[in-house]
């Protein structure tokens, strides 16, 4: 066990865990931020996507010891009132079915749009290809990303 001081969603928090613990489980079990989801545990489905700095990363493969000074943003911290342009676009398009993968989809999409505010369809598909939606909401996800891109500065 070791103590880590983590910057999560703008707050600094202490945890005392095994250094190999993936950030996913630090968030879910220790910081009680359960919006970030467990899907596969091997970085294949994208349900656990969070932002490390400005980059979308798979928190199930990110040991807490590798975080250091970098800030972590989860779905709970993407915006204060749930009104990030990507969140608004998701609500507008009524994207979700079961909804389980959508936090990961939103976190990946929001990091992607920050890098590429005006993506083509192919660029969206390439960027989102690591995020599985078992319910098959892919066409709505793409539409929501395009809407978010066209209506705002992400």
């Amino acid at each position: 066990m070791a103590k880590f001081s983590l910057k999560v969603n703008g707050k600094t928090q202490e945890v005392d865990v095994d250094p190999s613990t993936p950030m996913l489980w630090v968030l879910r079990d220790h910081l009680k931020l359960v919006g970030t989801k467990f899907g596969c545990g091997i970085a294949q489905c994208g349900a656990c996507t969070v932002h490390l700095g400005d980059n979308a990363v798979r928190s199930c493969q990110l040991p807490v010891s590798a975080i250091g000074e970098k800030s972590v943003t989860t779905i709970e911290g993407l915006s204060e009132n749930g009104d990030h342009p990507v969140q608004k676009a998701w609500l507008e398009e009524d994207v979700y079915q079961c909804g389980y993968c959508q936090a990961g989809q939103i976190m990946n999409a929001s990091a992607f749009l920050k890098r590429n505010p005006n993506p083509t369809d192919t660029e969206i598909e390439d960027a989102m290809n690591g995020n599985i939606c078992r319910c098959g909401t892919y066409t709505r996800i793409k539409k929501a990303i395009k809407n978010a891109a066209s209506t705002s500065n992400v």
Binding site: K37, C98, A103
Partner: protein, 734 residues
Amino acid sequence: MTLIKTTYNRRSFLKSSTLAGGGMILGFNWLASCKPTPEQVKNMPKEWFDINGFLKIGDNGMVTIMSPNPEIGQNVKTSMPMIIADELGVDWKDVIVEQAPLNTDIFQRQLAGGSQSIRAGWSGLRMAGATARHMLVAAAADAWQVDTSEITVDNGVISHGASNNSAGFGDMASKAATMPVPEEVQLKETSDFSIIGTDKRNVDGPNLVTGKPLFGIDIQEEGMMIAMIVHPPAFGLTYKSMDADAIKSMPGIKDVFPIDVYPDSVEKQWSDGGAINKLVAIVGESTWQCMQAKKALKVEWETSSSLESTEGHDEALTKLLNTSSKEPARKDGDVAGAFKKAAQIIERTYSAPFLAHNTMEPMNFYADVNGERALLNGPIQTPEFLEKTLASRLELPVDKIDIKMTRMGGGFGRRLYGTFGVEAAVISQKMQTPIKLVYTREDDMTQGTYRPTYKVKYKAGLDSEGNLIAWHVKGAGSNDDLLFENRFPAGAVDNYLAEKFSLESVVTTGAWRAPRSNFVAGAEQAFIDEVAEAAGKDPIEFRLELFDRAIKDPVGEPEKNDYDPERYAGVLKLVREKSGWEGSQKNGTSRGVSAYYCHNSYVAQVLDLNNDSKSPKVNKVWCAVDCGIVINPMAAKNQIEGGIIDGIGHASYSEMTFKDGQPQHKNFDTYRLIRHKEAPKKIESYFVDNGIDPTGLGEPSLPPIIGALANALYQSTGQRHYNQPFITEKSVIG
């Protein structure tokens, strides 16, 4: 208006003081972490009045509606309350929806399966709303001393024109709660619906996009431990022994023990299918610590039955299809004689592998069991059956067992089989502490309860005019005999023979989205495409000719045929029109058509492949649906789109194979699911507007799309596809 007796289940309409454990109150404090927004707090009434088991009305006119059925992504948590709200006459913006717990005193069929929630719930939900409206009107009539028949209700306002009286629901709620439950109520005319048939966004949307704890796996309770299981690595192996001491000292680990989940004394329900009787349980402080201990644990297994492999399944199914059944499932006319006379005979065999459900949220359940009572909460499609098994396994009366349902991260049939709920309860009982059982993806994917593997052989005879004169189908599946012998083309062919066989297997199977249909539709619709081609006819025309026969002169007793050929033909004609089918196979694209009936609904689809790239991509799908009245078009389209993508994905890429009883895929690195790039670029859905009571919607769009895909692939590549996943047959999509 329709006058309807409230005999459906009068207990449902009694005041909810009868609710066991105060079901209106959210007893589990994990939900408290879903803090209401300041606006919601501002709008909360000071007092609620229970009108009946389905709803309560606040003193400010807000209405809380209980959503009775489990939510797996089929959107019943929004659509079922919409039905109540419409009959009640409330403004949808004044409605708060809560997930009901299991309560068999009040609710019927709290089950997610068979695409039946809306169909089965339709009358009861309407009655619940209408009964409450009736009581509000009775309260107002009494207060104003006027006749109830002169009172109107609209958007949460009760009015009496002649006396110029009007009141909000909130003003009448306390009085309405004291009114007698009516013996009969009037339902709205369907043409008067104001909420049903309109787009309403998912009631959980704001909580989903902000990551609120909605799912079973999100449950956090005071004093709760994490539990994981180790199950046998192969079908045909069972637990023998383990070296528990080696991991008991690992950090955070509280206990490690074998569990008999289902001793012989337990009265099992159908929902316990796929149960693994003996497991190892690991209980610890955190998920990661349990995962580490799970990896380190050495378990010895022993062989309990045969260790099967995919090659063996394949051979055994082929062998079954080469036999004849003594009692065919259906026989019309003289099939052998007709084949002798036929000018052309086409015979083809189709196959499909086992499939895992792979819900994105792995199996999990919260349980807090002691000698007195059991509290359970989690993702379950069949809570009522879980309760029955728990009563037997825990030796507790049913009224000492409380089951709550969380939103589910997918179902697809997997969570019909609540063995994980029983496992959680048994572990909690042993530990005498609350636990949350969590499966890893590997546990989940290799546990079983799969879609069976199937094979089907079709033989069709055409006369010299290209008319279908004989049809012989033989179907076989693992622990499942596959065919629906009274579905199309039964009733449309003079000489028809259907035979079905089941292969015994130790690989456990269960319902997987659109059971049986999910394979047989694609096979049948691909075969019909080939037969139409041999007949020299347009594939839509060929099908319409058959439906015409079934309409005008059905073969066999008409009531035996379990489809309505006019509605079937209706969706085909609609998709033909919408897709601009005439003169199809345009430059650069290849298209296929398919139609199927299941879950009481009719679906026809046209799928366009784009041939511009190296491998064909699905450009667009047109889908025509007849599911009667559509409750929520925006959400209905979502179900249609999801079923189409699900069907294309699994037929193209997914399979579970076995070697010596061991599942050969354990996670998404080798078990391939459809991804963004492979999904259709566009899907257009059209619904037949016929005012018929609603039928299934969560499943019917999946089965036929596999046929449409196979038929379009043939147009694109010249290759017919007979074996799923199609990716194993050279030409690849996406």
